[in-house]
């Protein structure tokens, strides 16, 4: 059971994440978009979206710090366990609160604004469910276990387990004794990672940082890149009637 949950499940999720993205990038450039709903409604989004996104970016940074970087490294850098705990709990709580507030506004908006609700697809709903669960359980861990409770040193168990997955020497036994709330959080996040490439979340990987350095106006030659060359090829191949094509 431990092996299934903490070796098989993560590798399945990672495989889906990786191959899913490659497949989607190669075959569905047209669907690769934020599918913004700002055109329908702007006022709630103005508050909810930046709160959520900036909060989540901070949360992500915190996870990198807490999971990717071993405790021994921070200790070597002169950061005591107590100082780390204080930092992670305070900033984690702040970032988490911003994320939860943003998500709350966005979910409220999505469920109450008719146009936005109508534009929500099935996979969107699944994604929102997993995302909310991931953020909710994460918040529970930070606030419940680490702020109010006595604190749990996940850097001794969860973090090394997660890193062990990438060295191809998985150590599922590290996860065996962890609190249930941490286990649930991990499983929810793994499920979210598995679903990721098939949702709008792919837009994360299109963060347009190149915009800061490229020339303002983009020129492209009609001949050089053969826009639509692939499409013409596909159109010639397809010669079935509309019923068969759909």
């Amino acid at each position: 059971m431990t092996g299934l949950l903490w070796v098989t499940v993560p590798y399945v999720a990672f495989t889906s994440f990786l191959l899913g993205h490659i497949w989607r990038y190669r075959h569905d450039q047209f669907g690769w978009t934020t599918r913004s709903s700002q055109l329908y409604e702007s006022h709630l989004l103005r508050w909810g979206s930046p709160l959520f996104h900036f909060g989540l970016l901070a949360v992500l940074g915190g996870h990198v710090l807490g999971i990717a970087i071993p405790a021994s490294w921070t200790a070597a850098a002169g950061v005591s366990e107590q100082a780390y705990h204080l930092l992670s709990v305070s900033f984690g709580t702040l970032a988490g609160l911003a994320t939860v507030a943003g998500l709350g506004i966005l979910l409220y908006r999505r469920s109450t604004v008719p146009a936005v609700r109508k534009a929500t697809t099935t996979i969107d709903k699944g994604m929102y469910l997993l995302l909310s669960a991931a953020i909710g359980t994460g918040m529970l861990n930070t606030v419940g276990s680490n702020l109010i409770g006595g604190g749990y040193d996940y850097r001794a168990t969860v973090s090394p387990w997660f890193r062990s997955l990438f060295t191809i020497h998985p150590q599922p036994e590290l996860m065996a004794g962890t609190p249930v709330s941490f286990q649930i959080h991990n499983l929810v996040v793994l499920a979210l990672l598995g679903l990721w490439p098939y949702t709008r979340l792919v837009h994360v990987f299109s963060a347009p940082l190149g915009y800061l350095t490229r020339p303002y106006v983009v020129y492209r030659s009609r001949d050089a890149n053969h826009p639509g060359a692939r499409r013409y090829a596909r159109a010639w191949e397809v010669s079935a009637p509309p019923s068969a094509r759909r």
Binding site: F30, S49, D223, S239
Partner: protein
């Protein structure tokens, strides 16, 4: 110098009767799809009026186009690149669908399916966004013909720039129609706003397009365009815009809006310009210098040095010859009667307008004067502040000089041609008073009034084998017949905008279910009516009037039926 070619358009506003045929045919060809119901790549707005989307010209609010920094450098009005990226999660300067209008349809089915009752069933308006009942309160041309009265008209942002006195007199004075498409600017701020680099200017013909595969839906281009001519497809999550009907112009036929223009007021031609000079011209400190600065960017295609440079740039002989007889270049540079729309946005727009003289003539005639008399007209152009100042706010950043000059030339042409037509002796001083010769003024008259199709549209086709391939697309080929793997323009559209669902599409089809059965004007070359009328199966009843009058009931219907593939 970096010589580039640009396909540009001029519209003669004196001839626009506001019939919206251009808008309707454009919509029929390009935007009758789910997600862009509210989008009109071509729209016709009544001036004065709010325009579409409402008050789009108010750049204090919408932050479109370029502005100068304190140090005189050109920057997006909506802020630096860094600021744009910080605003990427919620764009504060994005119009919502309410600023355009909520698209709607009617519940026609209720008219047929309602049970028998005392009252007549009605077709309720239904929102195309939510599918719910809706109240229709605004549309793309709601204030058409000054509809809505002074309350609506006074919200015109251009009017707000004029003095109070002018505003009060305004609604008694004049109105005219302004058809608008994408300006295909030399310095496009939409492209500059796009974080993904998906909005690009084609280096062969200057057409500004959105790469549907690269667009990630950051919607910054909608803010960047001061003309609000980029639309966000809310179904596919991608930006879309006027394409200058590139599948058509690539094979040498005009855009759908120009092809179907009832007043024949549109001109399409090639203009050569110096791409290296664009930035400096767009950065001149005084907004009123932008119109002359843009004129300075254009290159004279008759100059041997320009021709040599064009050849060096790899521009084909066909294009050089087209530039030399370009009606657009003649109207913009030779006669200087065409003016750019809102040069103060600093985007160097390339759809120019011959300002309307009719309001001046009408005002003159209204006071009992002879509206065709040169002296009366010249006097009126100088004395009538209102139309001229309003036109100047539209076309020359408020500088009345060029507008007066253009109107005086139109007035001189009118007066001169009346003498010619009435057999009166020609008075050369009329032409001379606007620095033209009688021969020139008659040539200008021919171009503006009676020019034939091939003189209004001088469009060189795209080069080489590519043109051959596209030729087959836009005009239909023999393989389009029953069961053959033929390609139609619909397939081009289908490929670009994913009209029919492809297996990998995550959003489903962007087209209504019967899209494939609808007629696509993109195919139409203006030469025949074949395929323009829907096929009616014989078994369904008598042949409709339309088909009888066109005498092509079977022949005309067949290609449409074939396009259902």
């Amino acid at each position: 110098m970096k010589l580039m070619a640009q396909l540009a358009m001029v519209m003669n506003l004196d001839k626009c009767i506001g019939c919206h045929t251009c808008s309707v045919t454009c919509k029929q060809a390009w935007t009758n799809r789910t997600g862009v119901e509210y989008a009109w790549f071509n729209n016709v707005e009544t001036r004065p009026g709010q325009g579409y989307p409402r008050q789009y010209q108010d750049q204090q609010r919408w932050k479109g186009g370029w502005t100068l920094t304190k140090r005189g450098r050109l920057t997006l009005r909506s802020g630096s690149r860094f600021k744009r990226l910080l605003n990427i999660f919620a764009n504060p300067d994005l119009p919502t669908v309410a600023d355009y209008y909520e698209p709607w349809t009617y519940d026609y089915d209720n008219l047929l399916s309602a049970p028998a009752m005392d009252t007549t069933p009605v077709a309720r308006p239904k929102s195309l966004i939510t599918g719910e009942d809706t109240a229709v309160t605004w549309g793309a041309n709601w204030d058409d013909d000054l509809g809505g009265g002074p309350q609506q008209v006074s919200r015109d942002p251009v009017l707000a720039k004029l003095s109070a006195q002018v505003k009060l007199e305004f609604e008694q004075t004049f109105m005219f129609y302004l058809p608008r498409i994408c300006e295909h600017c030399l310095n496009p701020s939409c492209s500059a706003s796009c974080p993904s680099g998906a909005v690009y200017k084609r280096s062969e013909d200057g057409i500004v397009l959105v790469d549907q595969d690269r667009c990630r839906g950051w919607r910054q281009c909608v803010t960047g365009c001061p003309y609000k001519k980029i639309y966000f497809n809310h179904k596919t999550g991608k930006a879309e815009k006027c394409t200058f009907c590139y599948p058509r112009v690539e094979v040498g036929i005009p855009t759908v809006c120009a092809e179907t223009c009832v007043g024949r007021l549109r001109y399409i031609g090639v203009v050569f310009y110096d791409a290296d000079a664009v930035l400096a011209a767009a950065s001149v400190p005084d907004e009123r210098d932008l119109y002359p600065a843009q004129l300075g960017v254009f290159l004279n295609p008759h100059d041997p040095r320009v021709v040599a440079e064009a050849e060096r740039a790899g521009i084909s002989q066909e294009w050089i010859e087209a530039a030399q007889v370009s009606p657009v270049y003649q109207l913009i540079v030779d006669y200087q009667v065409a003016l750019p729309l809102h040069p103060e946005y600093r985007t160097m727009p390339m759809v120019w307008y011959v300002p309307p003289l009719s309001p001046v003539v009408d005002a003159l005639a209204g006071t009992g004067h002879d509206g065709e008399n040169a002296d009366n007209l010249f006097g009126a152009i100088d004395a009538l502040r209102i139309p001229v100042e309003y036109l100047a706010e539209l076309f020359t950043a408020g500088d009345v000089g060029p507008v007066r000059a253009a109107l005086r030339r139109l007035a001189a042409m009118r007066a001169h041609m009346r003498r010619v037509n009435l057999g009166e002796p020609v008075a050369p001083e009329i032409a001379e008073s606007v620095r033209l010769t009688p021969t020139e003024i008659e040539a200008m008259y021919r171009l503006l009034a009676i020019a034939k199709y091939e003189h209004r549209y001088v469009i060189p086709s795209a080069a080489g084998a590519d043109a051959h391939r596209l030729d087959a697309l836009a005009t239909g080929c023999s393989l389009d017949s029953d069961g053959s793997p033929g390609m139609t323009a619909f397939d081009v559209m289908d490929g670009k905008f994913h009209l029919t669902a492809h297996p990998s599409d995550t959003n489903g089809a962007a087209a209504p279910a019967d899209k494939a059965r609808r007629i696509n004007l993109l195919n139409w070359d203006g030469k025949s009516t074949n395929g323009l009328f829907p096929a009616v199966p014989i078994s369904n009843g008598p042949v409709s009037n339309g088909q009888i009058s066109h005498g092509s009931a079977t022949n005309g219907a067949e290609p449409v039926a074939e396009r259902t593939r």
